[in-house]
Symmetry: C2
Subunit: 467 residues, 2 copies
Amino acid sequence: MSFTIKQAISPTATGYEVIDVYIEGTEIQAIAPDLAPRGTVIDGSRHLLLPGFVNAHTHSPELWQRGAIAPYPLELWLTELYAVSTLTPEHIYLSAIATAVETLLSGGTTVVDHLILLPGQELETIAAAVRGYQAVGIRAFIGPLIYDQHPDAGIPKGDNNWQPGEGPLTTAAILEILEIAVQRFHRPEAGISIMTAPTGLQLCSDQLFRGCVELSDRHNLCRHTHLLETKAQQKLAQEQYGCSAVAHLQNLGFLSSRTSLAHCVWLDDGDIAILAATGSTVVHNPLSNLRLGSGIAPVLKYRAAGVNVTFGCDGSASNDGQDLLEAIKIGTMLHNITDADYRHWLTPREAVEMAALGGARGLNGGDALGTVHIGQQADLVLYDLKTLSLLPKTDPLGLLVMGRPTNAVAHSWVRGEQIIAGGKPTRLELDQLCGDLDRLSLGAIQRPSPDLPAVEAHYRQVMGLPS
Amino acid sequence: MSFTIKQAISPTATGYEVIDVYIEGTEIQAIAPDLAPRGTVIDGSRHLLLPGFVNAHTHSPELWQRGAIAPYPLELWLTELYAVSTLTPEHIYLSAIATAVETLLSGGTTVVDHLILLPGQELETIAAAVRGYQAVGIRAFIGPLIYDQHPDAGIPKGDNNWQPGEGPLTTAAILEILEIAVQRFHRPEAGISIMTAPTGLQLCSDQLFRGCVELSDRHNLCRHTHLLETKAQQKLAQEQYGCSAVAHLQNLGFLSSRTSLAHCVWLDDGDIAILAATGSTVVHNPLSNLRLGSGIAPVLKYRAAGVNVTFGCDGSASNDGQDLLEAIKIGTMLHNITDADYRHWLTPREAVEMAALGGARGLNGGDALGTVHIGQQADLVLYDLKTLSLLPKTDPLGLLVMGRPTNAVAHSWVRGEQIIAGGKPTRLELDQLCGDLDRLSLGAIQRPSPDLPAVEAHYRQVMGLPS
């Protein structure tokens, strides 16, 4: 298939220009003020053309619990999340599809799925998510969420006799699963990549991290993990390592220019220097950081230090949606209250570059993705500037980032294929997806879960909250 | 007209029930598990029924500049906003309509428009906004935005030789305009109310505030003003009064149970006690407070002190949309990072009550609005729980408040009239609205404005920012 997009509005360094873009195969083949129409012709007039954004951190299976967990900090929220164990591979397939569709309809063309695995069905989980993303056509990076400690180990021990149980699988078993997953599913040229993605230092042994580094080096895989999302995790790192979690990750060899790190709320200046020196990427998840009360990631400091920053929605149970434009909006504005000098504040133009090129860089893809240039992968989005939420005519990027775009994505391409047309997915019926989500809903969930009281009592004590 | 809503899902104190609701005239006439259908029958099954929310602070004419102003703090942002002076009453009419439609499509049924007036066409401005709101059918409280000082007076003088010019109109002339506006447009029983709404202490004389109190008492009008939105305003109040702005407002007699106060970011505990004692309402505008870097209003403290709090979008040039559900979401979660004890965090159920009943109370309407009860005004919203963004089936209020509802409002009634049906306004064509907004767009605006440099130099000096 080939497409000629006619007369789209495209940002320049400081303004806008009107261009035609010709797509053939998976690539942008030509850009000029006026191209002869070839292939399918798309009227881009009064549309804003941008490179697709990256939803750089999510957990698609959480979709089944969105809206269902009360306002809790991460450590208690996780207890509620993991108390539900009734998902099947069909759920995984559908939540991947729904995550992809919401991401696409809010300007994304790539999703990074830090994929929660069904116990005992780890490879089936990955297979189901791959099928889901292929069914929609979005570009996907799947990082199976692995850990070799018991989930309760994620809370500092403090002075309590806190005794987490055994982890779910041995380190060796986990690494073997990953190795098979890479062989079976890692097809970057077809839009599906596997990442090595240990949950985080709080639940993973050094051995598991080292195994991930080795696997990542051998197959040139991206690396992904949670990093210092909460104050409790900062406390835990000091308990465990006697140094900052960032220094420990560096010692393990995990930080690199193909490493992206979700959250990064509780880092100090020394940690920031390490991220800059290693070329690591920060994935800012502002909505989940607010919902879980984690704090405000020091994004202006990261940018000032030269650290690459991009945006994620985080999983749908801690946000609780996958509207990437909302994450970009809040992730752009939130920092204005952290620095009195507005000259340091992010502009809409910077936000868009962070969301597109910043996302691509964090996935070791800055050469092929994230800009609109000849020879780049055709991962493109056309926003309809005649919809109510993008009217009246003012500054398109200002409206897109600081406004609340609704039904704004008209057309999207991933790897040269049009997968959104007229605001709808081309490969599936939304009504059927909604019907399937409805049918497979989990039903009544006991809340708070039976597991919560014990964890909560310990959490409150160790975090110095009144009992 | 009368309506029977069948089998809608309605929140109880801790759960949900399924109810039928009969609307006749402007009121809810019956509620029961199973009513005989009369009038137009609405299928409420798999729909969430809530009282309409109040968009409790906005400035509709800002819509014409949404997306257009760079990230600046309020004082510089205002300079950019006021540099544009090409609006006409037709603009005012259309921006009122667009503000009403976006509010309705995000769960609102009432809008509080702190209405920027066209110089020399003050009454025409009010008339145009009234026509706009009547064209849509939303309930509107219009507070003509009045001030008798020069806009530059809103910045602290500091040690500079800062000499704001004259105000636009005399105090007497302003009060005369208001008096006429009340006579001509104040029709609460028809859904249009006039409020007395001085811009704020920073631009208004004591005499103007006293005049507003007198007018408000004479006609039983609600009172509305901006209060301590920025640190600069806190500094200015100390410069002007030698006491806090809140104490000064109390001395002027402005605070009361029919007074709502936009922003309230920079209040201390003493100020909060005054708000509680006077029964005043805080209107929290989280998105504009982030966009302008104003800070986080201490909403959890207000609630703990018994102060009524509700939500607003603020004007479209400082947000830059009128999605009330977004303001509620962020205004609910934002405070989680201000208090480590999650037991103090707002729940979705509390947020909905703040947005509906809290909004009604702030407008002296808590008896007739803000809940679903027999005898209440039928200002109601049905949300479609089968749309993608509200699936799968979990907790409807959790999804509505913590998710990102899109195209979620199916039907709305205001004063018993259905003004949204099937997700669309009943009284007007969206396409025509969009076409009109497009046609009347302001075109290229010089940014930064010629006025900015002088104001910026003074602002930076007085706020201690490097020059």
